[in-house]
């Protein structure tokens, strides 16, 4: 863990240790797909299609795991965005650090996994409630560029729970 505690100057950016930036629209594109799938999960669960809702949540959670552990840049939605969408858009005004959206994928993974495990333990409504919570985060990210995971990241960095570069 590289620490640069004492040289912690303000203002300057330590570009050397920062991973290459990503197009901030990439994670939002992925969040739009994720939000749609999560909303379908909720509707299926409330309609009584329990098995379909369960397996859809499993699939979404696996995709969250992919983003969280392989990195947001290797996520299939990110690849679709880079291949099909980004060439049609103008260059982004700013690039974004991939760490917060990667962390946000981890938050989604934790919520999805909790829903799956509680459902397997027989907790009623675990699937739609977990899907609804994750839907809020994904929808706000896609539609309003509000990154709930980024805020949690800052709060945890404040509490010194996650390592700061």
């Amino acid at each position: 863990m590289p620490s640069q505690a004492e040289s912690a100057s303000t203002g300057g950016r330590t570009a050397d240790r920062t991973p290459a930036g990503i197009d901030p629209r990439g994670p939002r594109f992925g969040a739009a797909i994720t939000a749609t799938l999560l909303l379908i999960t909720v509707v299926l669960a409330v309609a009584g299609a329990d098995a379909a809702a369960f397996w859809l949540l499993v699939a979404i959670t696996l995709l969250f795991a992919w983003g969280a552990f392989a990195g947001i840049r290797r996520h299939p939605y990110g690849l679709i965005f880079a291949r099909l969408v980004r060439p049609r858009l103008a260059a982004p005004a700013e690039l974004e650090d991939p760490r917060p959206p990667t962390f946000a994928q981890g938050v989604g993974f934790a919520v999805g996994l909790a829903g799956i495990l509680l459902s397997l333990l027989g907790v009623e409504y675990a699937v739609p409630i977990a899907a609804a919570i994750a839907f809020f985060a994904a929808f706000l990210n896609a539609a309003f560029d509000y990154c709930l995971g980024c805020r949690i990241y800052l709060l945890l960095a404040r509490a010194r729970i996650v390592p700061r570069t």
Partner: protein
Amino acid sequence: MDWLPALATGAALLAAATVIGLAWRSRQGVARSGSGDVVHPADLGVAAFGERATLVQFSTEYCARCPATGRLLARLAGEHDGAAHVEVDLTHRPDLAGRFRITETPTTLLLDGDGAVDDGAVRARIAGLPRAAAVRERLDDLLRSPHAVSS
């Protein structure tokens, strides 16, 4: 299976999320009253404040909107005599995030000044990408009042 309540639930979720998003966005970039807390440059690890006003921008290394915010605030500070812009990177200073209760970056504080460059009181606070008009209005107010001394 009963699809009508299910679809209604889905629509209600979508509506609730939209309301939350709109409420959040309406507060983004808007200047709200500051705490009046007196801050010294050394607290933030910067050399000096502006003589009459200082825009303190809290950033993180991984913040997408911070570079654009920095350019905007530097330009606005340049338009006003006695005003300065300083940027504080919280990535290595989580203690400051705690002290100023920063929950998102960028967050900008507007400090006043009484002619000295070694302290200032927090007069306004802006969460998110600042709206230029809101910053300009607060700066003008601050620079127009001749007796604006830090308490």
